[in-house]
Symmetry: C2
Subunit: 266 residues, 2 copies
């Protein structure tokens, strides 16, 4: 049942600045504009467990990235100040903050999870993501929690982990859900571009599990290379975690990933 | 595609004390034993946003319940002490704590989300739950994070929200995943008993979205009555949230739900 994307036909890419005009969510517009302006389609997954390490990493890779992906719930000493400082670094280096929360509950619950609690995600993240699994109520709940003016949402259309249950039928249902909520949902976490043609240009496609070398992690993660993701599968943004934050020089390594991913667009 | 359970054939119920002997996870064994000893199959969903309110509610409904269901990430002033106090109340009133985290990420990430961060879920929750969506790696990751000795896991086999994507094929895949991990997975969040016969007796079935009166919440939640869930669909435990914590007297209301749910087993 698992989606195993293969090489797609060469995409005649619409420039990101033109796709900004097609997108109906303000954060999506900002992201496409930023990518065109800064010439980067690299997202770094900052999976570190201390606030200082998170901020240091954000400051180091900031110049190379369009998006910083966070897991605030793995940071042991997270405080309101961590969110404030992240936002400061986002302004300093011109990137957006994506809290990879993978919301997966009913609408009434995600309202609280997104706006409340210790993390108050909606107060510092530009966008977050959700599984389509619980139905449209999850999108409605997150829209209620965050608003469409300064926030956006990605849906998880495909995953890279072994034996995942996001089959073609599921991906299609997820795509249809996104099309029903274009004021708020501006893209997908996916292994490939999941909407073809000009309709698909209005959404962004971000692909995790990217490393320069292909291998696994022993817990089901399966890696892809930047070129495979961007040139072969027509995704837009590579998400790189351990390949960068575990390297000796995250800033320099990020620059290498950035160039490979951007060159793969041509 | 949505699962809309209907009335099932009258179940010849195996006593909970006997099901304790069939279950392979220590927390599952403890839960079945507790239900038999305390004569309750009521779980209260403590969806409140302040630590004091959470602890007060747990203390008030504690004598009526087998399980307290938490969303630690909606509590704005959560500290380590909140988890410690919850655990104290669990011992005082003889109930288990179920953090309804709905983990939904890859194995490597859920390890950190379950054991680390501000909430350190594995340090105070007896069990938690996960979506089967990312594949077996999510179970392996949570097993790594929490251990099988003092922790257990439920999988979400069905949801109650409108338009959810957990169809029959998905539920079957989820059930098969649980059967592959009986050392750790001891049951399901579901709308009905999802495994028939003696094999199914080894697992517990917990059903959310229960109220004495049927209605919706405007964000996709659809409610069921205690009798419909236990007597008609052969689930084991009702999960009641707003019906109890928003009532004028949660302790007295919990006692009403408790009696209805227990009587429905007969």
């Amino acid at each position: 049942a698992q989606v195993l994307p293969t090489k797609k036909a060469k995409l005649q890419r619409t420039p990101f600045e033109d796709r900004a005009k097609l997108c109906k969510n303000a954060v999506g517009v900002a992201l496409f504009s930023l990518m065109a302006r800064k010439k980067t389609n690299l997202c770094v997954a900052a999976d570190v467990v201390e606030a200082k390490a998170l901020l240091d990493l954000a400051d180091a890779v900031g110049p190379q990235i369009c998006v910083l992906k966070t897991h605030c719930d793995i940071v042991r000493d997270w405080t309101d100040e961590t969110g404030t400082q992240l936002r400061f670094l986002a302004d300093k280096h011109d990137f957006l903050i994506f809290e990879d929360r993978k919301f997966a509950d009913i609408g009434n619950t995600v309202v609280q999870q997104c706006s409340g609690g210790v993390h108050r995600i909606a107060s510092w993240a530009h966008f977050t993501n959700a599984h389509a699994l619980p139905g449209d109520g999850i999108v409605d709940g997150l829209r209620t929690a965050a608003g469409v003016e300064n926030h956006g949402l990605l849906l998880l259309a495909q995953m890279s982990s072994a034996g995942n249950l996001l089959n073609k039928e599921y991906t299609s249902a997820c795509v249809e859900m996104a099309k029903r909520h274009t004021d708020f949902v501006f893209g997908f976490i996916s292994q490939e571009r999941v909407i073809e043609g000009s309709e698909g240009d209005a959404f962004v496609y971000m692909t995790p599990g990217v490393k320069l070398s292909q291998e696994g992690d022993g817990l089901g993660q399966q890696y892809n290379t930047p070129t495979a993701v961007i040139a072969d599968r027509n995704s837009d943004i590579i998400i790189v975690g351990r390949g960068i934050y575990k390297s000796d020089n995250p800033a320099a390594t990020a620059a290498i990933y950035r160039k490979q991913a951007w060159d793969a667009l041509a």
